[in-house]
Structure formats: C-alpha cells, structure tokens
C-alpha cells in the first residue's frame, strides 16, 4: 500500500511538474519574454499610442527589432512607452517613434526612424516636436489608422457627391443640348480652320523660304559681326582702344582749355573793339579838324608854307648838327670841379 502510494505520488508529481513546465515555457515562448537575454530599453513619449500594446513589435526599416515592453500613462497628458530592443540593434540618427497600424486587421507597431524621414505632414511633425523632451526619451507620435483615413475619405466622398449634384443641376437637358450645339459649332470651326490652314500652307511655304533666306543673311551678318567683334576684341586686348580713348580725353582737355582761352580772347576782342571804336571816333574827330585846317596838323596839312618852313628848318638843323660835329668846343664847354 505504501509503495503504491509512493508510486502514485511520483507519477502525479511528475505529471504536474512536466505539464506546468511545458505550459509555462510555451507561454513565455509565445509571449516572446526575454529570460536572461540582454535587451536595451528606451522610452518614448507620445500623446497617444493608438493600438500599440504590450508585446507590439518595434520595427526599424521594416525589420522587427524588439517589442513594446511597457505602456503607462505619464504626467501632463503624456503616454510613456518602454521599448525593449534586441541586443545589438543600432538606432537611426535622431530617432523618433511612430505608432502606426501595420495592417488592416488591427495590428499596430512602433516604428523607429530617422527624424528626417518623417512623412511631410505638418501636424505629425508638430506632434513630434512637441514630444521632444529632456534626456534619452524619444519623441513619438501617432499616425492615423485606416479608420481615421476612412472617415476622411468619407467626408471627401460626401463633398464629391455634393459637387456631382451641383454639376448635374447645372448640366440639365437644355444645357446638354447647348453643349451638343457648341460641340457641333466647334466641329464646323475646326473644319474651316482646316481648310484655311490648307490654303495658307503655300503662303507659309513661301514665307518659310523667305525666312530661310533671311536666316541665311542673318547668319552671314552674324559672321561679319563676329569677325568685327573679334577685331574689336583683338584691339581691346592690345590696348589701342584704351590709347585712343586716352588721346581723345587729352584732346578734349586741350579743346576745353582752348575754348576757355578763346572765351578770354573774345572778351579782350570786345574790349579792344570798344577801344578801337573810341580810337576811330577820336581819329575821325582829329581828321575832321585836320581837314578843316584846325590846329597845327590841319594847318600843316592844308598850308604848304608850313611844310616848306619845316623843310628849311630841317635843313638848317642838319647844317647845325654838322657844325657841332665839326666844332664841338664851340658849343660845349666841359669842366671838372
């Protein structure tokens, strides 16, 4: 009896122990619990984690790199999620965490990515900017899931339906008839245009020949201009233009000085003219007096006797001078003391 009881105890104990061990191991394995594994943990601060729960995967560039280890409410309306990363996982630069739906069936994940790779959504970036805190806590934000997107799409569909109703209201039967008439008119105009284009095609051909000729002439002119430009460029490069310009500048300076001198001379000429006019007037007066026989010169000019007297006086003076030269002591007595 005792031996049987001992066997029963052993069998039951082994069974209980074995089943519980296998069950616990299976639960831990399925739950991906890390027993003894070294895992790096980091914290994410976000306003909302959406559907991310304990055990949700952490994904870096599409590769599962850990799991959400803890989700807890924080102060000031924040939610703090602790992520347990697999050993050796290297975070991207400036990492941020996006809580997002990973499928249409309620699966969520925490995606770690570089801050520069965040989708260009203004609200999302604002949320990440707001979530940036002190220390090693990563900023996080919630991406809208399919339900929210569907709601937005529903609103858009409603707007489209409203627009469609308005379009239907505008395009009633009469509008449609007018539209058909307009289309017919456009078709006729199009045919006319086609005929006109066909008629003008020849003119356009002639014009194109002229244009080609003109283009050729322009090409030749361009060649000439190019050669002239080359020459000018060559002259410019040798300094001749510069020398010409400096010479012209010098000549302009000289012209300026000459003009100034001429302006001064013109002043002198004016003054000389005044004097000449005065002199002429005086001369005229003098000549008038002379013609009238007034004064010494008038008498001299108009009375021959005066000339003769003067001539005899000169002759007498010449004889006097010759006498002086011949007999100086007769006229001059020089004494000292």
């Amino acid at each position: 009896m005792t031996r049987t009881r001992r066997v029963n105890d052993a069998v039951v104990g082994a069974t209980v122990l074995g089943v519980l061990t296998v069950l616990i191991a299976a639960v831990l394995w399925v739950n991906q619990s890390a027993l003894g594994d070294r895992r790096d943990t980091l914290h994410v601060r976000t306003r909302d984690v959406g559907g991310v729960t304990l055990g949700s995967p952490v994904v870096i560039r599409g590769v599962r790199s850990g799991r959400v280890d803890q989700v807890a409410l924080g102060a000031d309306g924040w939610v703090i999620a602790r992520l347990a990363l697999d050993e050796g996982v290297v975070l991207p630069e400036d990492p941020v965490a996006l809580m997002q739906s990973s499928s249409l069936f309620g699966e969520w994940q925490a995606t770690l990515l570089d801050g520069s790779g965040v989708p260009p959504d203004r609200e999302l970036r604002a949320a990440l900017s707001e979530a940036r805190g002190a220390g090693d806590t990563l900023p996080g934000a919630l991406l809208p899931d399919i339900a929210q997107l569907t709601a937005v799409a529903g609103r858009i569909a409603g707007d489209v339906a409203e627009v469609a109703d308005r379009v239907r209201t505008v395009f009633d039967d009469s509008a449609a008839a007018e539209l058909r008439g307009t289309i017919r008119s456009v078709s006729e105009v199009s045919a006319q245009l086609r005929r006109t284009v066909a008629a003008q095609a020849k003119n356009i051909d002639a014009m194109s020949v002229d244009v080609q000729r003109g283009v050729r002439d322009l090409s030749i002119a361009a060649t000439v201009i190019d050669s002239v430009a080359r020459r000018i460029d060559a002259s410019t490069s040798r300094g001749e233009i510069q020398a010409i310009v400096s010479t012209v500048q010098q000549a302009a300076g000289e012209l300026l000085a000459t003009s100034r001198q001429l302006r001064g001379l013109s002043g002198d000429v004016a003054r000389t003219q005044v004097r000449l006019e005065s002199a002429v007037a005086n001369a005229d007066s003098v000549f008038t007096k002379i013609n009238r026989g007034e004064g010494t010169m008038g008498q001299l000019v108009n009375d021959p006797r005066l000339y003769r007297n003067s001539d005899s006086l000169v002759v007498e003076l010449r004889s006097l001078v010759a006498d002086i030269r011949a007999n100086p002591r007769k006229y001059f007595n020089l004494r000292l003391f």
């Binding site: 039951v12 399925v30 055990g55 699966e107």
Partner: protein
C-alpha cells in the same frame, strides 16, 4: 354550487403542486449547499484525505491525460481546417494561428476536455460512491468513525480541482501544436505565419482564463459525482441512475460555468 367548489379545489391543487415543486427545488439547493458545506468542513481533516489524494489525482488526472490529448489533437486539426475554410481568402493566412490559439486555449480545450471528463470522472465517482452507498460500505465507514466527506469526497474534489487544469493544459498544448501541424501540412500556412498569428493577439490571460475555468469544471464535476453517488438509492439500477445523473448535471454545469466565467471575465474586456 359544485362548479365553484371544483374550481376552488383545482386551484388549491395547482398551488400545492407549485409549492411542492418549489420546496423540492429549494430542498435540492439546500442539500447541495449542505453537501458543499460538509465537504468544506471536512477539508481540515488532512490526515484522513491526504493519504488518498494522490491516488485520486492519478485516477482522475493522470489517467485522463490521453483522453484530453486525444480530443485536443483532433480539435486542433479541425480548427485549422475550419479557419482556413472560413476566412481563407478574406484575411491573411496567419489568422489561422490566431483563431487556433484563441479557440483552443480559451474555449475548446477547457470545455471539450471538461465534457469528456464529466463523462469519465463524474460517472466514475458516482458509480464508485453509489456502489459503496448501496452496499452500505459508507455506513460501515461511519460506524468505524470515518468521516465519509473527509475520506471519500474531499480527496476526489481536490483531485478534480487540481488535476483538471493539468489535463486541460495538456490539451491546450496538444491542440495548438496539432493545429500548427495541420496548418503547415494541410492548409499550407507556413510556420512563421502561424506563429505570427499565435503571437499577434496572445496574452497570458488566455491561458489563465482557460485554467481557472477548467479548475471550476473539475470542482463541479467531482462534487456532482460525489453528491450523486452518496445519494444513490436502491441497487445496481440506483447506481446507474446516479452515474447518469452525475454526467448530465456535470455537463450542464460545465456549460453554465462556461457562460458564468465569460460574463465575469470577458464582459467589457477587449484585446486592446
């Protein structure tokens, strides 16, 4: 004058029948409650029931493992096939794993195993104790100053309560593994996909819920079996009736408790 008297007698007879039924039901509840109270009272008498506990744990638990595993083996296969058939092209294939894991651990392993053990364990206990009752062995025990509750009921109830979860845990493991193999071989769902589905919505609560539920099933089945056996009357026919009654009531109680635990633990709870 006769008509009103007859009508009055009919009313009195109906009221009497209703009262008798109510009294009987109340008596049944009272007897069951008294039975449970007597069992609880006998639990401290460890010296009486402890030497026999492992024997009954082996009979009720260890010997029931093959039945639980067998049921779970085919349940897992059927579930994998059923999941693929139901949602094959609508949802990703890894949901086969999710469906198998959730169904097996939370519902099918506890309930199907409980129903199977209700037949095996409940009938076994009721028949054994019923035979002892009709052959007056229990009276002999009382004559020898043995407490029949401590000697007969407590070790069986404890064995059922403790070993049902063990059998159900085995069924859970076997069911999920068989579902995995079926998904791999028969449904063409790869192992990573199946594991992804299993892990997707798995929480420890799934297992805890199934084990607690199975423990309550074990308690109910063993208590009902003991109660039916100790209340057996007559000869072999009475023993057979007690066994049948134990199986039926146990099966019903398993379903009632299943709904009870669902209401208590799953109301307002989501997989968020």
């Amino acid at each position: 004058m006769h008509a009103p008297v007859a009508r009055r007698l009919l009313v009195i007879r109906l009221l009497s029948a209703l009262g008798a039924r109510s009294r009987a039901a109340t008596e049944m509840i009272g007897r069951a409650a008294r039975f449970v109270a007597e069992t609880a009272r006998a639990v401290p008498d460890v010296a009486t029931w402890a030497p026999h506990a492992t024997l009954h744990m082996r009979i009720l638990g260890v010997d029931s493992l093959p039945i639980g595993a067998f049921i779970a083996l085919f349940t897992g296969i059927v579930l994998a096939m059923l999941a693929d058939y139901s949602v094959g092209d609508i949802v990703p294939p890894y949901f086969v794993g999710t469906l198998v894991e959730k169904s097996i651990t939370m519902e099918l392993a506890p309930v199907l195993t409980g129903l199977a053990l209700a037949g095996r364990v409940g009938a076994n206990i009721a028949a054994e104790l019923g035979t002892m009752k009709v052959t007056e062995q229990i009276d002999a025990l009382e004559t020898l100053a043995y407490d029949p509750y401590a000697y007969l009921v407590v070790p069986r109830v404890l064995a059922g309560t403790l070993m049902f979860p063990i059998v159900v845990a085995t069924a859970m493991l076997v069911g999920v593994v068989s579902g995995w193999l079926a998904a791999l071989v028969l449904v063409d769902v790869s192992t990573p996909q199946f594991l992804k589905g299993v892990r997707l919505f798995f929480t420890e609560f799934d297992v805890r819920y199934g084990l607690v539920k199975s423990a309550s099933f074990g308690t109910a089945v063993s208590l009902i079996g003991c109660h039916a056996g100790l209340n057996a009357r007559g000869g072999a026919q009475g023993v057979g009736g007690a066994a049948t009654r134990a199986v039926v009531i146990s099966a019903v109680m398993i379903l009632v408790l299943d709904a009870f635990w669902a209401i208590v633990w799953l109301t307002g709870r989501t997989l968020k």
